[in-house]
Symmetry: C2
Subunit: 190 residues, 2 copies
Amino acid sequence: MPKVSQDYLDAQRTELLEGARRCFAQFGYEEATVVRLEEATGRSRGAIFHHFPTKQDLFLAVLERDAEREAARWAAGSSADVLAGLAAEDPDWATVVIEQSRRRRTDPSFQARWQGRTDLVRDALLALVRRERAAGRVAASIPDAVAARFLSVVGDGLLLQRAILGQVPHAGEVVALATAALAEPVPPAG
Amino acid sequence: MPKVSQDYLDAQRTELLEGARRCFAQFGYEEATVVRLEEATGRSRGAIFHHFPTKQDLFLAVLERDAEREAARWAAGSSADVLAGLAAEDPDWATVVIEQSRRRRTDPSFQARWQGRTDLVRDALLALVRRERAAGRVAASIPDAVAARFLSVVGDGLLLQRAILGQVPHAGEVVALATAALAEPVPPAG
């Protein structure tokens, strides 16, 4: 049996996950049937489900790959870059992610499996906040957890509007306002 | 035939729409069957569908009523009040609204019917921005449309996190950061 290189296997996996992502985005989770997944990925069902025993496994693998890319963006770039990326996300894919997100609240097993994705993005976001703070771009009065939550709320709002509207008017200005907000001292609540 | 007062009719309508809202929230749009709508509203299908010929009509009427209340909040209160209200929305109802929202992008007839709701909330939001500006709480460098978009993005982010997580950690601080952001001059983008 010939050996195949790890690079080749990685490339195959990437291609499979990208095809699956397009299929989920186009048809939604429920309507992404096995036949459609075969067409979108160019793989037989045997080849697909050899690596991902169920459709949920496949979907979570796509999400995980997205999370790795998002975490890499938080790790490498500014908060403005990442927010702008969310505002420019494929609207169909954003829709599927949002639809499936709600299962985290109602389906404990799904929540447990999604946790890896959540942790990855949360850690990268916190690391960014600390980096921005070290660079003097986060006001001392704003705790890390609050700054990270604020960025994630704005990011989710951009993602939702992208899913609903197909585009977010004034996205650049909204991102600039959000990032500037962290540099200013927060007034007392009340 | 005895005359019934307008107040009585309004109260009946409110009760019907509140029952329908609970039913949509509990089961989701698709699973809110006629039988379940009858149970939740305490009305026969004949009584329900006399006023709302289809389930979509009924759903849009519930949305419209929500929009009126949201517009009234924007009209009466501060942006902080409205954002806090979105962060405290019934998570199940938030989920249904978000699920159905995406149909605005893909279903032109649904989009057209949702437009009334959109216009109502947008006008109320713009009125609030102008009021806040007159009170000196919106920086001159931020146009009305940008301030309104920023508030709607933060509001949608809070609503989405409420739907996904069931609660939004640090919601109060996030709202305070968002409202403070509008008072500050926005730095040049880039």
